[in-house]
Amino acid sequence: MSLVDRCCGKCIHSLETPCPDFITCRTEGPLCHDDKECHEKILGLKDKILYGEDGLRVSVGTSTCGLAAGAQAVYGALRAELARVAPAAKLVRTGCMGSCYAEVMIELERKGSPEAIYSKVTPGKVGEVLRSYLDYDVSGAYALRSRNGTMKGEEEVPLLDELPFFKYQERSVIENCGRIDPKSIEEYIIHGGYSALSKALKNMTPEEVIEEVSDAGLRGRGGAGFPTGLKWRFTRQSKGDVKYMICNADEGDPGAFMNRLTAEGDPHKVLEGLIIAAYATGAFEGYVFVRAEKPLMAEHLALAIEEAKKYGLLGENILGSGFNLEVRTVLSAGAFVCGEETAMIAAIEGSRAMPRPRPPFPSTQGLWGKPTTINNVETLAHVPAIISKGAEEYSKIGTEKSKGTKVYCLAGKVERTGAAEVPIGMPLRRLIFDIGGGVQGGKLFKAVQIGGPSGGCLPESQLDLPIDYETLQEAGAIMGSGGMIIVDEDTCIVDLARYFLNFTTAESCGKCTPCRIGLKAMLEIMERITFGESKPDDLEKLRRLSSSVADASLCALGRTAPNPVLSTLRYFRDEYDAHIMENTCPSRVCRHFLKGYKVEIEQCKGCMLCVSECPVDAISMIERQEEKDGEPVKKALIDPSICIKCGNCYNKCPFGAIKEVW
């Protein structure tokens, strides 16, 4: 029996006769008839779904980050081990809890015992971890979700919420990630899923839903922060019988992965948000536009749609409300410009993803010329909580103009990489240093790049800024998707700005001249600077071009592309000057400033490996005025007039005796 099946003959629910109370009926019911036995049956079923027959649940985080850390092998080892010790336990592949730095993570949970989370698990450790947990011993665990005094070592292991990475978080969008099996609609329902949809369809008119979302102050989490309720209202008010709802799951910002994490770990939450949005805007057809480069996310979203259909949560007369909705996934072939709504619409229509001038906005003329709403994954994943809790409760956190939480991705040279969901308005310093643990390896913090290629680079002095849409914009960055790349003293800011320009130049769709030609001209200047070939008026030209491109481009890709250059010029002018006037790269990244190589005599063992590796015979062995075992000692010497700076000797020297000269 599954949750969708009827508990007994008295249950009135079937796909042909849908019922508005279906979800509550299946989790707390039955509601349609009074029967204690059926109630017990449902409770037992819920337990079986979560814990298997053995009352033991073993979860392995196998989202993309987990897999990259080796979760597949851990899963295999666990399966083999469980087959011996607890064959009827429930083994599940969950998503990522956001603490990617601790992957591979597994969680053990026996009914009645505290759940123990283990980090950096390898296949070899699996047996021991499992045995000790089953032996009522949690020492060695990374964290516990709760304590109840039944396990040995409980006091030595911190609670998950006490760990610095989790302590400051307010998890709503990613609350289920790493907790539930993303491929199981039943687990989502048991954790309160689809109750918001039930509430919206049963008790609220579309207008009331829009009202609630407006009152909650939800703003688009994909970039510009446009009020979601307003967007929905525009589509609702547009004339036409056919309207579309699109979920943007084409996360294209390099360095941001919150949408992948959310949709991989809890796809039904996104889908529930989408169904509510379609109901509110009056759409009968929905699309999930998901990037082919992130196959697991595409797979989980497609599966969620299939499952929801089986449960009568998609299709005709959803939960007896008379509301119909068909949803399907469209695989994006990959283009950054698809983040622009009109470009994405062109892509779904089968053309090159080129934006068009607005107005008309998609809310009046979108897909196939019909009114269309586009929201990204994270925005939609906020919707169920708003409907369940109500706008008032939801808007209690956040700042005056920006409500709720935001998921940020911490990556780059930060100690604890991963994704954290925190109230909007938290200062950057708390996010990077308290949650992220500061810079890796005790190096000096240099900057944080916020908002990807459209965002900006902020220095130490800006770290006390509360993060919200407005303050970031004033500081020269943008909220964007919420990707944060932390860089340290070893990263060259000029090279980083060049990297982003290289990205936006390549991703420019080519439709409008300022973006197509302007960015290319800017990139040429940046390349000159990083190659040590800059001209005296380059910075001035760069500024002029930046403002032309920002002012005259057709879409947000071009309008925001100069941000990385402008923000780095504003805060890191000295690094530009070092490249241009002092002919050096202070972070030792731009290779063109490398003067050459030299041999550290003390470390050279005279093995002659470098001599044979040198393609231009620039290295010779020189006799020293010392002897070893009666022979004169020979050491390598590089002739800078012949050296072509290929770096072969530097890379191959087994003793690290060859040093760079900057």
Partner: protein, 167 residues
Amino acid sequence: MTDEKERTRAAVDEIFGRYRHSHDPLHSALIPLLQEVQDELGFLPEAALERVSRLLNLSTSHVYGVVTFYHQFRLRPKGKHLITVCRGTACHVKGASKVNDVLEEELGITPVVDTSEDGLFTVQQVRCVGACSLAPVIKIDEEFYGNMDPVKMRNILAVYRKKEEKK
């Protein structure tokens, strides 16, 4: 018509059969159709583009325009193993280019040649695979490798080559 072209055409026709009944305008099937054809053939040969344009009643130049616009499509055959190098920001600041240098050196990859001479490896650069926390990341076929560095890259290549030799 050569056998090669004939086979390509047949493959495209078979996939197209599944799109004929969709109620969306026919030309919207272009991208999914190309994706499936590429899945089947490994790349998009000229004959496939011609056939697709004929079936969807689009000009070949339009089809070519779409194919060259998106990252996913490739016009050249693929080697036995596909190495995907993530060039996202996190990977960039953590040294993805050094990992890529190893591939260029060991496999003879250049900006115009993306497949090693022995046909064993094709290297593609992607914008971001979203595993930023384990940067730099590469993927070989469906397998992910995190926290890469030049030494690790050389070792992994050696493992793959050894496996091939055994066969």
